[in-house]
Symmetry: C2
Subunit: 337 residues, 2 copies
């Protein structure tokens, strides 16, 4: 492998000139620059990442902690990851994929393997928070812990998402609304998005005086079937449905159909899920988008901001956007006697 010294020799300049030509940190005459570029080209030179990291104390690598255990929301997770990778590469960073275990944060940060961290799947009272707060490197969380003190966070505003979904149904006249939510494991693990979603849903139902039901639902066809059957048992007059569970969604719809309640004729549905999930159903579903990929990109943007100016910490909640796809029908509003 060619080194910067080889390049310098070949271009007839000093190492530092090559270095500066590469970094653009000082002006280089057009002629010199041309000779350097030629030498680089001919030698196929690439700076050695380790040497650069040693000398400059930066690695141009971002660490990403992602929940890889398959199961719930694989789509959403993959889209977050894709967003982070895209955003990183756009800003000249690579991404080091870390496992969830607590040790790896300390390992990669204190051995200077990464310049910054993105942490996904944050719990209310996440065990990793103290470690993250005492880091030389900045960190951005995707999610929202109870106390984000000193940490930057970005997430969809799930409370708003729940409220927006309900309000859409209420506006169409629905007054008995059920929430098919995240699996019970997610809720009990206190990953806050499920709670925020529920809070928004409940708040909007109460504000509208609508009857409501909240059912955490396993991310499987079986879970969907069980929840639909329970809804029909507990709330037989249900006409509106908010589904925040991408795996269950299609099965919920077909189960309602099977139980004699067609969507959207007898039951209106608003999903909260990534767009691609909502559009690829047999008949597309009106949904509040989870813009996972752009949230991933935003996380990286926040990180590059923090690396320039560490005081720029902030919490960013992305506003939800509802897209009509025809799965909500107007109902006759029965006015009280």
């Amino acid at each position: 492998m060619a080194t910067i010294e080889d390049v310098a020799r070949r271009a007839g300049v000093s190492q530092s000139t090559v270095s500066y030509a590469l970094s653009g940190k000082r002006p280089i005459s057009a002629d010199t620059r041309r000779r350097i570029e030629k030498a680089i080209e001919e030698l196929g030179y690439r700076p050695h990442a380790g040497a650069r990291a040693l000398a400059s104390a930066r690695t141009d690598v971002i660490g990403l902690m992602a929940p890889l255990r398959t199961g719930v929301d694989v789509n959403v997770i993959m889209q977050f990851v894709a967003g982070v990778v895209t955003g990183a590469s756009r800003s000249g960073y690579d991404v080091l994929l870390l496992t969830q275990d607590e040790g790896s944060v300390a390992r990669v940060t204190s051995s200077s393997m990464v310049d910054a961290l993105v942490v996904m799947d944050v719990e209310d009272d996440d065990a990793r928070l103290p470690a993250l707060q005492n880091l030389r490197q900045p960190a951005v969380l995707i999610g929202l812990p109870t106390d984000p003190h000193g940490l930057s966070c970005v997430d969809l505003d799930f409370a708003q998402a729940g409220a927006v979904a309900v309000r859409r149904l209420v506006a169409a006249g629905h007054r008995s609304i059920a929430l098919i939510g995240s699996p019970a494991e997610v809720v009990s693990r206190h990953t806050s998005y499920a709670e925020r979603m529920t809070r928004g849903f409940v708040g909007a139902c109460e504000a509208a005086g609508a009857a409501y039901l909240v059912l955490p639902t396993a991310a499987s066809a079986a879970g969907a079937v069980a929840s639909v059957d329970r809804i029909l048992a507990m709330m037989p007059d249900v006409t509106g449905l908010v589904v925040h569970n991408e795996v269950a969604l299609p099965h919920v719809i077909s189960r309602f159909q099977m139980r004699g309640r067609g969507v959207p004729d007898q039951v209106s549905v608003v999903a909260v899920c990534p767009e691609n999930v909502a559009v690829s159903l047999p008949s597309p579903v009106t949904s509040v988008d989870i813009p996972a990929e752009s949230i991933g990109q935003i996380a990286v943007e926040m990180l590059t901001g923090l690396m320039k100016d560490p005081s720029r910490g902030e919490v960013r909640l992305v506003s939800p956007r509802l897209t009509e796809r025809g799965s909500v029908h107007e109902v006759e509003v029965v006015t009280g006697a």
Copy 2:
């Protein structure tokens, strides 16, 4: 951050002694070792990854090219990735996540960011192959290109998987069998697993004298419905089904049900998918497992082998294993007049 020099001073030894104590590359007296460990502990010392990479020409990082665009087989992809990360961390490696674009292989290898590469989603005649063959670093492909010349590969033996699935159905007396396969995009992109699967399926059907039908199927509920309807139109006497499409699977089953053919009473099903997909259906499905996670781990093991001895290239096809879950029923074999 403490450096190795700080540790050495505090322990009253030389830098090299600390280095050797850490690497175990030469014997250290018990007493010295204890003092060093104490100093490391007290200072919270961690070797600087860049410095180490520069001096030793190894990074202990493996590059992983994974298809992050969501869609088909997200589960399978995540499990591959999880397997690679697990395997890597078990062998003391970290994982750098690369995008699919061709440039990144050259970038991370020639700047010495990684010691080795795992490449997923390999196509028959993959554009990245030439670049991979001329690398200082070893590479393992997950998948099987047409000409794996000089490259190590690992994958499920999809031809066998197809055959095993068919033979199970044939053994139960089925003679009209359909394959619900990967989406047409996958097939036309020539990712070889779809073709190998089809070849195994067709071969086994012909060997058994069974009628068969192959239907590439979109990874969506809509795709499933369309394929089921086509099967019933083209092969009304179908009784056996092989499904190699994890997204379509549940919808295929419920569509058959809806069309009056219950699984397994009227139609027997063998899926080819990860175990967790097969078991989490409303009623579990007999399946040929895609052991994605262990294939990911095997890929890393092959890599560590190659790093010790680069001549150890090989192609490994993991034998499929079928697990009974009750979705295959015996049929009366109608003997010819």
